[in-house]
Symmetry: C2
Subunit: 332 residues, 2 copies
C-alpha cells in the first residue's frame, strides 16, 4: 500500500496510482479527521469518492499518529485524550470513536485502535500496551457498522511469549484480518525479523495478514516468506521526496553530481513506463532547481519499483518458489 | 506557450503537456544558462531531448530576466554586464552570446537580444532602448547558426511613432518572425491595447507575430483580433500555484471556504479531462493541506482552459468570424 496520508499519495493523482497498478492505498484517520474532517468526507460520499479512487482503501486507527504527533496525550483504559498538533483542540479517542470515524470515511478495511508501545520499552511496558490492546479489541468490534471490515492488531513487542498471548487473544475474536503492530518503530532488523517470523504463523491462514509500516524490499521479501500478505510503508514515497531512488543496485541519490551529464537511466534494470522518457541528468536538474516535477518523477519511479517487487513476489508464489528473488533484491 | 522556465512547466511532465494538446513551450535562456548550463544541455542533445519534449520550444534572449533578476547590471552598446542572482558570477551577455546560447539549447525559435525599458519610462528612455535594440538586431542575425530561426522584437514603449520606427527598422532585416516586446511590463490595459492594435498590423502577415508576456484571456482575444499569432504567459501556471482557477465565470479562489463541501466542479462550463474526476471540495482540501497535487491539478486545469481558448479562437478564425467569443470569455 502506498501511503496517502491526506487522501493523496504525495505528488500523485489517483490516475497515477491506477497506471502504476496499485489497487489498495493506506490513508491516515488522525490526519483526515482533522482536515477535512470525517463528517465532511462522509457527506461527500466517502473517501473513495472524495479522492476519486476506484481501488480499495485501508485506514489506520489514528492511534499511532496520536502517540507520535499529538500533544498532551493521556492514555487510560477508556481511551486517549490528546490535543491536535494543528490547532490544539482537545479530543478523546476511543476504540468506538476510531471505528466510527473509519466508517464515516467508508473505507474497505478499518484498523482496530490499539496501543503501540515506543521502542525501546521494557517487557512490562510491552505487556501493559498489549493488555490494553486486548481490552479495547472487543470494543472495536462492537462498534462496527454493518459490513465494515475491521482488522485486529497483535502487540507484544519483541517478546515471543507476549506475541503468542496476543495472537491467541485476538484470533479468538471475529476480526476480518490480522496485523502485526509494534514493528518498524525504530528497532533494528535483527530484532524485527524474529518477531515477524514467529508471529506471522500464529495468525489465521485464511484471513489477510498485514505487517504494519514495513519496509525495505528485503524486509518485504522476508515477511512474505513468513506468510505476510500486506504491507504499508512511507519509504518509497518519502525517500523519493528526499531524492533517493530505489534501484537493483541499491538506493541512489539522484541529486548527486555524478548524474549531471548522465543521459540514460540510473539503473538499466530499473526502468519503468511512468518515467522512462526522462534521463538521470534531467532528474538531477529538477531536484537542483527545486522543481515540483522532481519529487513527482522520483515518487513514480519508487512506487513502480515496489509494484514490480510485489508482482515478482506474486509470480514466484504462483510458481511455488522464488529462486534468486531474495538475492536479486539483496542490494535494493 | 506555457512557460517552462527551467525546462519544465512547473508541476508537469512533457506527457502532461502532450495530453493537454500543447505543441510549443517557452523556456528561459537566463535560467537554463545558469542551471544546468547551455553547454550541458547541448552535450545531452539539446533542450528537446533533455526535457523529453517532442513539441517545439521557443526561448527568450535572457535579456528580460537579466534586467529583472540579475544584480549589478550595466548596459552599454556592446552588451549587458551582470552578476548572477544565484551565485554572483559576473557574465557579459551580448546579442551574439544570446544567440549562441540559444543555438546550444537547440530550440526551434530563438529571440533576439533587445533592450526592454521598464514601465513607466519617459519617451526619451523608450527611444534609447529602441535605438539599442536596433543596434543589436543585425548582430543577433549575424550570430545565427545554419538553420537557426531568430525573431526580432519591436520596442518603442507606448508611442505610436516609435513603434512604427521600430517595426520599419526590424522588418527591413531577415528575421524569421516578429515579436512585440515591452508590453505586459506593468502598464494598464488601456495603454497596452492601443500598442498592440497599432503595432501588430505593422508586422509582416507572412511571418509569425508574437505578443510577449500576454496575457489574460480577454487580452489574448483582443490581440488575435489585431493579428497576433503567438503568446506566452505565466498567468495560467502562476495563478494555479496561488490557487486561482480560470473559469468562464472569472477566476475563482479554489482554496476558499465556499468550496469545502462542493462535490462538483467549480464551473460546469470549465470541466476538462485532466482534472474532471476531482471535485472542488477535494481541490480545496489539497490546497489547505499543502499537498503537492494541489498545484498540479490547478495547473492542469488552467492550461486546459487556455488550450480550449486557443482552440476556440482557431475554430472561429477558420469559420471567418467569432460571434460571441469575446463575450463568452469576457468574465474569464
Amino acid at each position: 500500500m502506498p501511503v496517502g496520508t491526506y487522501g493523496t499519495v504525495k505528488t500523485l493523482g489517483s490516475e497515477d496510482l491506477e497506471a502504476l497498478g496499485y489497487e489498495l492505498v493506506l490513508s491516515n484517520t488522525y490526519h483526515l479527521s482533522q482536515r477535512p474532517g470525517s463528517g465532511l468526507i462522509e457527506r461527500l460520499g466517502g473517501l473513495h469518492n472524495f479522492m476519486s479512487w476506484n481501488g480499495a482503501v485501508l485506514t489506520d486507527s489514528g492511534g499511532f499518529q496520536v502517540m507520535s504527533l499529538a500533544k498532551n496525550r493521556k492514555v487510560t483504559d477508556e481511551g486517549v485524550t490528546f490535543r491536535s498538533h494543528l490547532d490544539g483542540t482537545e479530543t478523546f479517542l476511543t476504540p468506538e470513536k476510531s471505528i466510527e470515524i473509519q466508517a464515516q470515511l467508508g473505507v474497505d478495511v478499518s484498523m482496530a485502535l490499539d496501543e503501540c508501545p515506543q521502542f525501546p520499552c521494557t517487557k512490562d511496558e510491552a505487556a501493559a500496551a498489549m493488555a490494553r490492546t486486548h481490552l479495547w479489541a472487543p470494543r472495536n468490534l462492537s462498534a462496527r457498522r454493518e459490513g465494515q471490515s475491521v482488522f485486529g492488531i497483535v502487540q507484544g513487542g519483541v517478546h515471543e511469549d507476549l506475541r503468542r498471548e496476543s495472537a491467541d487473544a485476538l484470533t479468538a475474536l471475529p476480526f476480518d484480518g490480522y496485523a502485526i503492530g509494534g514493528v518498524s518503530v525504530g528497532e533494528p532488523t535483527d530484532l524485527q525479523y524474529p518477531v515477524v517470523a514467529f508471529t506471522a504463523p500464529l495468525l489465521p491462514q485464511d484471513k489477510p495478514r498485514y505487517l504494519m509500516g514495513v519496509g525495505h524490499p528485503a524486509d518485504v521479501l522476508h515477511a512474505v516468506s513468513c506468510g505476510i500478505d500486506m504491507f504499508d510503508c512511507v519509504l518509497p514515497t518519502r525517500m523519493a521526496r528526499h531524492h533517493s531512488l530505489y534501484t537493483m543496485q541499491g538506493r541512489v541519490n539522484c541529486a548527486a553530481a555524478e548524474w549531471a551529464e548522465h543521459g540514460g537511466p540510473h539503473d538499466p534494470a530499473s526502468v519503468f513506463p511512468a518515467t522512462e522518457r526522462y534521463s538521470a541528468a534531467y532528474m538531477r536538474h529538477l531536484f537542483k532547481t527545486d522543481e515540483p516535477l522532481a519529487a513527482r518523477l522520483a515518487t513514480l519511479h519508487n512506487l513502480a519499483f515496489y509494484a514490480r517487487l510485489m508482482t515478482e513476489i506474486r509470480e514466484a508464489i504462483g510458481a511455488g518458489s522464488w529462486p534468486g528473488l531474495a538475492e536479486r533484491y539483496s542490494r535494493a
